[in-house]
Each structure stands twice: as structure tokens, then as C-alpha cells.
Symmetry: C2
Subunit: 412 residues, 2 copies
């Protein structure tokens, strides 16, 4: 019989609640924008916990935070686990934080059990995953892997005109003396725990999801240009009604994207109408498309039709279609998945294989090292919402699988 | 051969250009909100012109401005002509102003020609026709006729929290000594000149429109309630997508409102989506319907189906439908129309009969006295826009027909 790594469910839960105090909102949620004062406080709380256990803490030029536990062979690249501490403006207590705190709990449990590993193990908190203050998101992980240039992230500007460069400098100034690493270095493997943000695990009554990959995403920005005119006097034949054209486009796109098996994710989330007066025919509509699918072929086939479908429904207006984001589906590494399955067997929890609908930092890490993700159920699949909730026992199950998988990978 | 009332085209044009200086915008338009400082300046310019010619100027509790020329029988109610001096925020030089300035030109021409009339003739400038600063609009005419209580108009509040009561008091304080009439009094007939705000006269190459009536309007406010959720993770079967439901409603309403003869006016002008994030399924959509038709039966038949059509397309969301405005079609008075036709014959201009698509102060006056409207062409039918334009000769043609019709009615 194997002795399991002793994850402490109560300690893990207590740390979630402590972290959720920083930027706490009245309805139980958290507002902790990337590189804000709250973000700085959450970093320093994590760093304090790490230092109390004798771990070293370092940062890098995009502000990622690394907590290092040496391996028996320090020339080997680390096995790494983590996620992010920033939140949506009305976010929950678990999105991001769970991935960091589960990794820290795993590190502490491995350490306290006196388990030596060949590879070093590192906990990481990636900067600005959410992208709600500075666009694009996943700044820390995409700068680390080289997918997006560091300079591009640093030049991003928030609504108040503050650059990410200045906001980061302010955060780092509170951490004087913290060693600075260069950006990007070899990583043996990366693991990320996260709440599912969907209903599948809860519906199946299974505490742990083995994530097989991250579906692909294509984002489009559509601008429809018509002419403002008087609603009471202008006949239909003389109208260039931008709203009418946009409505027709979205209705046609919904028909294009309909699939019986319900795997396509198609969302029009922004839809802005100008001038927005009840008795003026709209002269301009701007809308966004968020389209995702786990298969590259479907992502290409349907996404490539967006342009033609919009143009077919433009009527007397004109339209500009811009693809603003294109991320291919990623399959997680087979060895990492095998390590997670073995870990789940050791721990004795049931698992479900599922793809990730959302984008995560692991999508970027997968490009440079074997990576994988562990999901746990969240209440009603709700996230990016103050009502976001998860059970202490599910969080602990996820951390147990993570700890065993880390130990397996760090000794392989 | 009859001597025509000597309308001065150059003087009429010059007054338009002088009035357009007050609140002038860089692109040729005018921003002169109701009861603003600009509105006060435009009133005092008009009053000064009137006093220079020896006419008396009076106001009333909602700030309507009356310029009086005595009749031979001062016990008879006046024949009245006018419109409004307030504008849309990016309005043009002619909407409203033409009706007041044509009436003033007609009054001056009648006066200078030494024509005596049995009825007094009055020029009126109604307060806040546009309704863009204080809602609802047509404050002056609807308070005058009793259609809307004075108190309701005075309690209206603008975006800065200023009440119409305070704004009106500020305007009236600049006119100390101007006599105050009680609200509402008998009127023998009312005539209103206006630019068409539509393309028909320009397309037909006809300088004067005889307006047969004002079409009916029904306004609706539709609120669709769904649930916010993650765009990447939430399957279609679990979504309550408020945008998807609203798109389906508007598409169905467009089918309902389609008419081959192109007489229905159906516009969705406001369409607001919350929270408006590209990767969040919209939880709420608010949109407005502006539906108009010249026939009461069609207004009722189609308008009464709005509720059922929206409910049929609500899907898994919920919807609240409120009718916010219901104005029956109005037919203008046969005697007034006959006087306008006779006047056009005298002047020798071609006319076209047409209904008014827009609402005007004459809609309210028609409820209490015989009323009518004269349209002149405007460039490309454009109004409520800085590009609004009209030709000096068309404005003068309208003023000629108005002057003759006023003389006919004031002597009948």
C-alpha cells in the first residue's frame, strides 16, 4: 500500500477564503484586476506563505511569480503547476486562485512529507490571465512562451490610460529585493488546476476532470455601416438600416453554427447600436463573434464562412469583418494525461475526460512543454460571476490528483 | 388679377441664417436644446424682430411665445401659425425654425401690405417640441391643448438633474416684463410649415406639400432577461441567451411588419446588450420599437401582434413588453386643407398631397381647432442631422402658401 501525499483540505479551503478577502465584493465575489493594488496584495500574501515554509520566490519581466522547491538534480528543468490570481471585475473566489493554491498546497504537502524529487517543483502565478483590464489576456504565460512579445503586453493601456508597464512597475516596487529571472526558461511539464466553468462534472457527479485539450477559438469584430434617418418618414426602400442588416447577419450565423450534437460554441456578446435613439434609424452597429470548437477542421470550415454569411446579409449597408483572434485547438500531452490518470487511480477518485471550453494559461504552456489540466466541479457551472462556488472536498480531490501527478512527473 | 402677399425670399432666408447662428455647430448644424441659454437667445431674437415691427409678444406658463397682430374684430379667436425653435442635439437649421420664421414672414408681409383681417393673426413658437432634453416632447403644444398636464412637463428632469420648471424659470427671467397669458385659449385655426423630413417632394420635384394628416405611432419597450454565462463552456441547451432571443424577436417583427406597398414604418432604434463582453453570453437585452402607420386599423392590427410575436420567440428567456406611446392617426381639417389648396392656386405652385410621417405640434392642435400643415422639400429627405438643407425658393413657396391661407382663414 502506498502512502498518499497528505493534502490538508481545511488548510486549502482557509487559504481560498483568505485570498478572497483581497478585493472582496459585497455579494461574495472578488474584484482583483491584473496589476492592481489588490493583485499586489494577493502576490505578497502568497509570497509570505512561501517564505514562511522556506521556499524562495522570484519574478520575471512580466511579473510572473515563481516559488521554487529544489529537486535532487537542480540542473533539470522544473515541473511546474499554477494558474493566476487576477479576477474578472465581478469574479468569484476560485477562478485562477484554485490553480495557484492547489499547486501551493501540493508543494507544501510534498515538502512536509519529506518526498525528494529529481526535478525541482515550482508553483507559478501567471500575470493577467483574465484580460479584462489589459488586452489581450494570458500576458504572463504568452510572454513567457514567446507567443506574444513582452513589449506588446507592456504597452497595453487600461480604461484610465494607465499602461501595463507602469502598473507592473508599481506592483514590483512593493517587492523590492525579490530576485528577477529572465523571461522564459525550460520547463519539464506544466499542470494547471481549475474549476470547470461548465456543468459537465456536476451533472455527472464526478469530482475530477482530466482535461484532454483546449478547444480552438476564432474571434471576429463586425462593423455594419448604414445611414441615420428619421424613423417616421423614411420608407423601407430608402433605408440603410444598420441594425436590420446586423440582425439578419446574426440570425444567419446562428443557422450556420447550429449543430445537433451541441459542440459548437457560438456567442455574440457585444452588440452596440448607434446612435441608439428610438426614433432614429441606426447608422452603425458593431458586434463581436466568439466561436469555438474542439476540432481544427470544424473551426476552419465554419469560421471561414463568417465573412461570406455576413456579406450575404448586408443588404444596402456596408460591412467590415476583422478576425481578431485565432487559436487552434490544443491536445494535452499524452504522458501528462497518463500521469494524471495514474495519480487519480492512486488517490482513488473517479474522473471524467473532457475538453476545456475556456482558454487557460496551459494553452500557451502546451506549445513549449508537456502540459495538462485538472478540473473540479463548480456549482451550476457558473463562473465569471460573484455566485461562483465550489466544494472544499472537490478542491481537495483536485489538489490530491495534482500532488501525485507532480510527484510522478518530477521523478520521471 | 389678385395682388399676392409680398413674401420676401431674401429676408426669410437671412432670418434662417441668423437664427442658425445661435447654437451653431462646426459642421453646419445647430444644437439648441429646449429651455437652454440658446433657446432663450432664439426667443429674444424673435421677440426683438416682432417688437421692431410694433407687434406685442406674450408668453404662457409653459413658455410658448405668441406674437399678436390685431384683427378687425378682437373678440374673435386668433388664426395661428408657427412651430418650434428648439433643435435636436445635432440638428439642422430648418427643422422647427422654418415653421416659426415662415409664419413671422407671412405676418410681416400681410402687415406691410396693409391687409386687414377679421380674426387676429398670431405667430407661435411652441416650447420643447423635440423632446431630446426633456421627455416627452411637444411640451408647449400638448400643455396648451390640455393633452398632457402642465405639471407633468414641469417635473421632467434632464440628464444633469435640472427640472424643466427650473430651466423654464431661467429662460423667463431673461424676459422680465413680457406679459403672461393663461394656458390655453380658443384658436380659430392653426397652420404649421415644416420641411418634409422625407424624400417624396424632392423625388417628385414639387415645391409644396399639402399634408393630409399625421400617421399614428405606437412605441414599445422590450426587455429580454436571460442568464450571463461563459461563452466557451456553456452548451446551447444550457444557455438562456438574451441576445439570441432578442435577435429572433426582431427578425420575426420585421417579417410581421413587411408590406409590399412600403407604408409601414418599423424601426428598432435602441438595442442595448448587457454585459456586452465578447466572451460572456448576454444576460439582458433592452430594445425599442417605433411603429407608425397612417391608418388606424393597420396601426391596431399590427401593433396588437407585437406582444404575441415577442413571446413566441422568447425561447428559454423571459420578456417584458410595455407600450410606452400610442398616438392615433390624425386627419387634418377639410376647411383648412381647402384654404391651403386655394392659397396654392393663388400663388401658382404645384402641390402634392402627403401624410406626415413625423409627429408635429399640429398633431396636438388638431385636437382643439381646425389645423393643417404645409411641407417643403429638404435635401435627400435628411433631417435631425447637421446635413439638413432646404432651398431658399422652396422655403419662400411654402411661406407664400402659408400667408395666403392665413389671410383666407382670418377673413372667413
Amino acid at each position: 500500500m502506498t502512502t498518499l501525499i497528505p493534502i490538508d483540505q481545511g488548510r486549502l479551503w482557509k487559504r481560498h477564503m483568505a485570498m478572497a478577502q483581497i478585493g472582496a465584493l459585497p455579494n461574495g465575489g472578488v474584484n482583483r484586476p491584473a496589476l492592481s493594488q489588490g493583485d499586489a496584495q494577493s502576490r505578497s500574501l502568497l509570497a509570505r506563505w512561501a517564505e514562511e515554509l522556506g521556499f524562495s520566490v522570484e519574478t520575471d519581466p512580466i511579473g510572473n511569480l515563481f516559488i521554487h522547491r529544489p529537486g535532487t538534480d537542480e540542473t533539470l528543468p522544473p515541473v511546474m503547476a499554477g494558474s493566476h490570481l487576477d479576477t474578472q471585475p465581478t469574479g468569484g473566489k476560485f477562478d485562477g486562485a484554485f490553480g495557484v493554491l492547489a499547486a501551493f498546497e501540493a508543494l507544501q504537502a510534498i515538502h512536509e512529507a519529506g518526498i525528494a524529487t529529481r526535478h525541482p517543483i515550482e508553483v507559478v502565478s501567471w500575470t493577467n490571465e483574465e484580460g479584462s483590464r489589459f488586452q489581450p489576456g494570458c500576458s504572463g504565460s504568452s510572454a513567457f512562451t514567446g507567443a506574444v512579445p513582452l513589449e506588446q503586453h507592456l504597452e497595453a493601456v487600461d480604461r484610465d490610460g494607465i499602461t501595463a508597464r507602469d502598473a507592473l512597475a508599481a506592483v514590483l516596487s512593493t517587492e523590492r529585493g525579490m530576485p528577477m529571472r529572465p523571461l522564459g526558461f525550460p520547463v519539464a511539464a506544466f499542470l494547471e488546476c481549475h474549476i470547470e466553468q461548465g456543468p459537465k462534472l456536476e451533472e455527472a457527479g464526478v469530482p475530477v476532470g482530466i482535461v484532454t485539450g483546449i478547444q480552438g477559438s476564432r474571434w471576429f469584430a463586425i462593423e455594419v455601416q448604414g445611414d441615420e434617418a428619421h424613423a417616421g418618414t423614411t420608407p423601407r426602400r430608402n433605408r440603410r438600416d444598420a441594425l436590420s442588416a446586423a440582425i439578419s447577419m446574426v440570425a444567419a450565423l446562428e443557422r450556420l453554427m447550429f449543430d445537433e450534437e451541441d459542440r459548437v460554441r457560438f456567442t455574440v456578446g457585444r452588440f452596440e447600436v448607434s446612435p441608439g435613439s428610438p426614433n432614429t434609424i441606426p447608422g452603425r452597429v458593431f458586434f463581436t463573434i466568439d466561436f469555438r470548437h474542439p476540432e481544427a477542421s470544424t473551426l476552419k470550415r465554419l469560421g471561414d464562412q463568417v465573412d461570406a454569411v455576413c456579406r450575404a446579409h448586408v443588404g444596402p449597408c456596408s460591412v467590415t469583418i476583422t478576425e481578431t483572434f485565432h487559436s487552434l485547438p490544443a491536445d494535452f500531452d499524452a504522458n501528462v494525461i497518463a500521469a494524471m490518470r495514474k495519480a487519480a487511480d492512486l488517490v482513488g477518485v473517479r474522473t471524467l475526460d473532457l475538453p476545456s471550453g475556456a482558454l487557460h494559461d496551459a494553452k500557451f504552456l502546451q506549445e513549449v512543454c508537456p502540459s495538462g489540466m485538472i478540473f473540479v466541479p463548480c456549482e451550476k457551472g457558473i463562473s465569471h460571476n460573484e455566485a461562483e462556488n465550489a466544494k472544499p472536498e472537490d478542491l481537495a480531490s483536485g489538489a490530491r490528483v495534482l500532488a501525485e501527478a507532480l510527484a510522478i512527473l518530477a521523478n520521471s
